[in-house]
């Protein structure tokens, strides 16, 4: 047994109290950590690049550190939706893509209007209102737009010159002819394909359909895949593939495969978000640094004459899980990221800003060569498909039928009719 005395007990108590105070002081000095779930690119544009660490001031002001959990597209949403179903969560804030902003998921997130009334984000009307409304339900806002990806045509200027073309295609009717002329074998043996699409996604073909006067699902939730516009788009895709103007393994190529193929000079033209031009022109990873340019050709002659262009865009919003423990801190972080100044800084780091005014900022115009084109595209862009609860199934049906038409397993008419027949029952009843 350990002998105890009054003096010993007093000394032990004092020592314990001193240790407790020291631990408390250390805890106060140590920043509090907050978890954010996002894609790696969201973290990158806030912490790395020519504008530096955008969130440094916020971290110091709040004695906080951010624990970024960065995942791939499906995994981000799976993780955050699972977290949001728990009774409480360590996740402070999450980035959610517009395709996942469906009515059933809003109930898992915090309505943001009370926060905006109490501690407003400056000039909220400056955000693209289409994006804000996509993240609204029953008159409540649930997300603050933070990043978009508007698509454009990226083309390899060196190949155009090699093939005697003095300008990129300007309308959809020129696309097949350009792809044909840009499909060739170079002197070094490289097989070049004129055009590439993301054949495991829908946005490129939907853009072609819109340029042909059609669509997949209209804004009032009607599936019009069996109409002439989409059938024409499927015919174009089929022709591009059957004539060997696209890589033969296109259906198995993922986005990263596509980027590598463009960088290596295997694909001459490709539809991608504007921001990808940085990757295509990167001297460390591209065989043609500085030779990739952007344009838009997803438009018909008539649309072009009217000054219209077809651009598809997806976008991300920041949301607060309803079960988050640190909701006020989450709002403070969202407010910081959304400020006008930080929007510009993140854009200089490579973000595509959701604030319309950002594109008038001289710093952005000076540092991002495609800023004006992107601003114009953003004004006229639409999501490739409106969000609804079963949109993921609709996307898969579209891809299945589109690939079947492209590879010759079905006629474009039959594929379009199948899309319409199978997608219509999935749409919400209006």
């Amino acid at each position: 047994m350990i002998p105890t005395s009054r003096r010993g007990l007093l000394a032990a108590s004092l020592a314990a109290a001193a240790a407790g105070t020291a631990r408390g002081a250390a805890a106060q000095a140590r920043p509090t950590s907050f978890t954010v779930i996002s894609h790696r690119v969201h973290q990158q544009v806030l912490t790395e690049g020519q504008a530096g660490d955008v969130l440094n001031a916020w971290r110091e002001r709040n004695n906080a550190s951010l624990d970024w959990v960065t995942l791939d597209l499906n995994a981000i949403h799976d993780r955050i939706f699972r977290e949001a179903r728990l009774s409480s969560s360590n996740v402070t804030m999450a980035y959610v893509l517009n395709t996942r902003a469906v009515p059933s998921t809003f109930s898992m997130f915090e309505p943001l209007d009370p926060y905006q009334q109490r501690d407003p984000i400056e000039d909220f009307d400056d955000f693209s209102q289409g994006m804000v409304s996509a993240f609204s339900n029953n008159g409540q806002r649930y997300g603050v737009p933070v990043r978009h990806s508007v698509n454009c045509l990226h083309y390899n200027e060196a190949y155009l010159q090699e093939r005697g073309l003095d300008r990129p295609p300007q309308i959809i009717d020129e696309l097949v002819d350009y792809a044909r002329r840009l499909t060739f074998t170079r002197a070094d043996g490289t097989q070049v394909f004129g055009w590439g699409i993301q054949a495991d996604n829908y946005s490129d073909v939907v853009a072609i359909a819109r340029a042909c006067g059609g669509d997949l699902i209209t804004e009032d939730m009607r599936c019009v895949a069996d109409q002439p516009g989409m059938v024409r788009a499927l015919e174009i895709i089929r022709q591009l593939y059957q004539d060997g103007l696209m890589p033969r393994n296109i259906t198995a190529m993922k986005q990263n495969d596509m980027i590598t193929a463009v960088q290596n000079g295997q694909i001459a033209m490709h539809n991608f978000p504007f921001g990808r031009t940085v990757l295509f022109n990167n001297p460390r990873s591209s065989r043609f640094p500085g030779r990739f340019k952007t344009t838009y050709c997803m438009t018909s002659r008539e649309q072009r004459e009217r000054g219209e262009l077809i651009a598809t865009a997806e976008f991300w919003c920041m949301m607060i899980p309803r079960n988050a423990r640190a909701k006020d801190m989450a709002w403070s972080l969202i407010k910081e990221i959304s400020s006008k100044e930080n929007t510009i800084r993140a854009a200089m780091n490579g973000n595509q800003p959701a604030r319309v005014s950002a594109y008038a900022d001289p710093r952005l115009l000076a540092s991002v060569p495609y800023a004006e084109q992107e601003a114009r595209s953003l004004q006229q862009s639409r999501v490739p498909m409106p969000a609804f609860d079963r949109s993921a199934e609709a996307k898969d049906i579209f891809v299945e039928e589109m690939q079947a038409a492209m590879l010759g397993m079905r006629t474009p008419q039959a594929a379009g009719a199948n899309m319409a027949r199978r997608i219509r029952p999935l749409l919400p009843r209006t």
Partner: protein, 290 residues
């Protein structure tokens, strides 16, 4: 006679509790989930057999089931035949036995993801080394990305290459265990090579072969990464297998009820297949040794 009392029960309890906590309870939960309509942000609603009925009417499910059964039979029996052939050569004795053995076992040490990506690049029709070599030899295109049959053939090749070591090791060990005296006696009696294999080797290794078959059937039924990383079930969902179908239902469409129902259907089918081999094993393998 050995007694089975409380001490033995207590010693087994931790393992049993783990099985209950991590296998039995989740399985029961998933079984219940298969009778509900459930997704993110929605309370699960009991829908009876609607998910099973939905699967029954889904063409994609039947195509995935057909692909799965086709592919796993090719994989399991392909592995078995190759293992038998290799093991038969090995027991005869070959030069550099250790080195050759290491080469055969090597794929088992490679991550499935790395292996599939490696094969994918080697067979890329535009830049792949194997694809270019085949083209240089004047052979027709191996269009695994756009031709579903070619795609499934490549899945089989990769899977056999990856998992051959498992079956081979079991079969080889079993062959080594067959008493040499039996072969010597058969030789003296005038049995030829095939007769020795048919009447000595096969009965001697049958138990081990059945064990290998049971394990490989059950594991192959979960075939996922080879298909997902290579074709993702495409083109046009023609190379989809059951595990990919389940993944899409549960994690792409967030339809947990359908995902759970698919999971249970997979358990029942693979259980039935395994049961056939367990019965065979019982009759021809273990019972004889009891």
């Amino acid at each position: 006679m050995r007694r089975f009392g409380l001490p033995q029960l207590l010693m087994l309890a931790p393992a049993q509790l783990l099985l209950v906590a991590f296998i039995a309870i989740p399985s029961v939960y998933v079984f219940w989930l298969s009778f509900t309509e459930s997704s993110y942000g929605k309370e699960a609603v009991f829908v009876g057999l609607a998910n099973y009925a939905g699967i029954w009417e889904d063409d994609a499910f039947w195509r995935a089931l057909r692909n799965t059964l086709l592919v796993i039979n090719v994989i399991v029996y392909g592995e078995l035949l190759l293992s038998l052939a290799l093991a038969a050569v090995f027991v005869q004795g070959i030069p550099f036995r250790g080195l050759v053995l290491a080469i055969i076992l090597m794929p088992y040490a490679i991550s499935e993801v790395v292996a599939v990506v490696m094969w994918k690049y080697m067979l890329d029709p535009n830049i792949g080394s194997i694809a270019r070599a085949l083209a240089a030899l004047g052979l027709p295109d191996f269009a695994w990305a756009t031709n579903p049959t070619h795609g499934l053939v490549l899945v089989c090749i990769i899977s056999i290459w990856l998992h051959l070591p498992f079956t081979f090791i079991i079969v080889y060990a079993a062959m080594l265990a067959v008493p040499k005296e039996l072969y010597e006696a058969a030789k003296i009696d005038g049995a030829n090579g095939w007769q020795r294999f048919r009447h000595i080797t096969v009965p001697g290794i049958l138990g081990a072969v059945l064990v290998a078959l049971i394990f490989r059937y059950i594991l192959s039924f979960r075939l996922f990464s080879e298909v997902w990383l290579l074709t993702a079930g495409g083109p046009a969902r023609q190379t989809e297998v059951l595990a990919v179908y389940l993944y899409k239902q549960a994690f792409t469409y967030a339809n947990f009820g359908m995902g759970a129902a698919t999971g249970w259907i997979m358990v029942v089918i693979s259980g039935l297949v395994a049961a056939v081999y367990v019965v065979l094993l019982q009759r021809k393998g273990f019972r004889r040794d009891a």
